[in-house]
């Protein structure tokens, strides 16, 4: 991986990403114990729907422990090998040769820059997995009901919630999504602005209150208090 990154930096491996199959040295890969390769996962991912892809990816790897799901090597391997066919369709600018800067495009989508939570939520594959992990609610009839709201706009899990510490408290994520679900009328328009506003508001509260102390209802109550302000954004 280290060598591959070096070769992308100096431009010698950029052409590899224009191929239908990624050529790599199998001797340079490691076995990860307790992780089984799902059959035909790439075919089950839908380049038109991040939500559907996220569910498929999460279901295929639902037994991953957090320590495994934050391993840069796992996501780099999947994006270059098992899920490469999906990657070149979903993030096709390097493949088509239309990226302004192919090297940074490849680094942005195929590699994790670090394993801090904001990067885990931004990566083309790990972001899908972690977004489901944070929003799946086993207490519901449809446990992915809230996940679907999270994926209404890709910026919401990746850049809005993902960039704040709040985004790693599952109860906060579920509280926010449940509030949106119960107040659909409020979020009919300006979804991006409104989700940014509520995330920022709750993050400010997190500056003086210990976020982990609170359950989902606290976050819903806090959002209810500012529902007039949310409605005013359009």
């Amino acid at each position: 991986m280290f060598q591959l990154k070096k070769n992308i930096e100096d431009g010698t491996s950029v052409e590899l990403y224009r191929s239908n199959e990624f050529i790599y040295d199998k001797k340079e890969t490691l076995m990860m114990p307790n992780i089984r390769k799902p059959e035909n996962l790439s075919l089950r991912l839908n380049v038109q729907s991040d939500f559907e892809s996220a569910i498929q990816l999460y279901e295929a790897f639902k037994n991953l422990e957090p320590i495994q799901a934050s391993d840069e090597r796992l996501w780099t391997y999947l994006s270059h090998v098992d899920l490469y066919p999906y990657m070149i369709k979903r993030w096709n600018s390097a493949y088509l040769g239309t990226a302004k800067d192919s090297r940074s495009y490849i680094f942005d989508h195929w590699f994790l820059k670090s394993t801090i939570h904001s990067e885990l939520l931004r990566h083309a594959l790990s972001g899908l997995w972690w977004a489901v992990f944070l929003s799946v609610d086993e207490t519901r009839g449809d446990k992915y009901e809230l996940t679907e709201i999270l994926f209404r706009q890709l910026d919401f899990p990746t850049r809005t919630l993902g960039s704040y510490n709040l985004g790693r408290h599952k109860e906060a994520v579920i509280g926010i999504l449940d509030f949106i679900k119960e107040n659909e009328g409020l979020f009919k328009n300006a979804f991006e602005d409104k989700t940014r506003y509520i995330t920022k508001h709750l993050n400010l509260i997190g500056g003086v209150k210990p976020i982990s102390y609170y359950g989902r209802q606290f976050f819903k109550n806090e959002l209810q208090k500012i529902s007039t302000n949310i409605a005013a954004l359009y």
Partner: protein, 288 residues
Amino acid sequence: MRFNDVSFPHPVLGVGDAINSTIGFSPEPEILSEGNSYAISVMCEHNNPDIERLLQMGVVEYYCEATCSNTLFRDCFKSDNNQIKFEIEKKLVKGKVSFTCLIVAKTSIANYSNSLSHPDYEGYNFDIEPGDVLAFFGKFEFDADIKYEKLKAVSTFMEVVENKDPNAIFTNYDFSKSKIEVQLPTQEYMIFANESISKETKFAPIFHSSIVQNALVSALYNFEANKDCLWAKVIDYRLRNEKQFASLSINENEDIPEIAQKLLGNPFKRLISELQVIVEQPNETEDY
């Protein structure tokens, strides 16, 4: 959470001079690696009578928040007494794990004031809500990548690998990886990797005082540029926690050879002793 003078609307013990009382950890928090989990024990101390009274009434509680950015781990642990004890499974955390210890309100407290608060708060009462912070003991952290139980093993911060460059003739050092890499040319590496050499305990002082000592001294001269690497964190932890390093500084170049020798347990002394043993060993073939 940010803990400064302007963060909170009400006085918080341990934040600036908001309340005139002492607060902290005593002794320092203990983190033990036990099987599949880390056992954490925190003793919180303060001497504020008003907050103590609230604790006795059961309307506030001790609270420790644990977070790990690398695995999105976030959890909280509560206690009715000043010792907060809990375990974190190793599979949940990686790299830096951070802790914040507080006293928080369990229930609403109307008209809260503290008799030892700064004069700026005089005449003001505050309505406290559940979860609001009344005392801040401090923060601490540990690195879950560091094998604390094996800190003294050279293998925690260095490894000998093969230099895959077929043209390599000389040994190369790489300080940018998680461990200091000593990259031996292929031919030398094949010989070294033989268990009768690399695993032979009587050769350890020879390797430590040659290959390892050289690589370590070079690495320490490049410590600052690589301080985010795991090897540097392991060494930094030892430098900060072992008395033998108290008078030495990684920032002083003249201290580095001594730091390296102390990290390796005086390898030159061990080498000379081992050579003496080898010389004084009876040569069995001479008996025949």
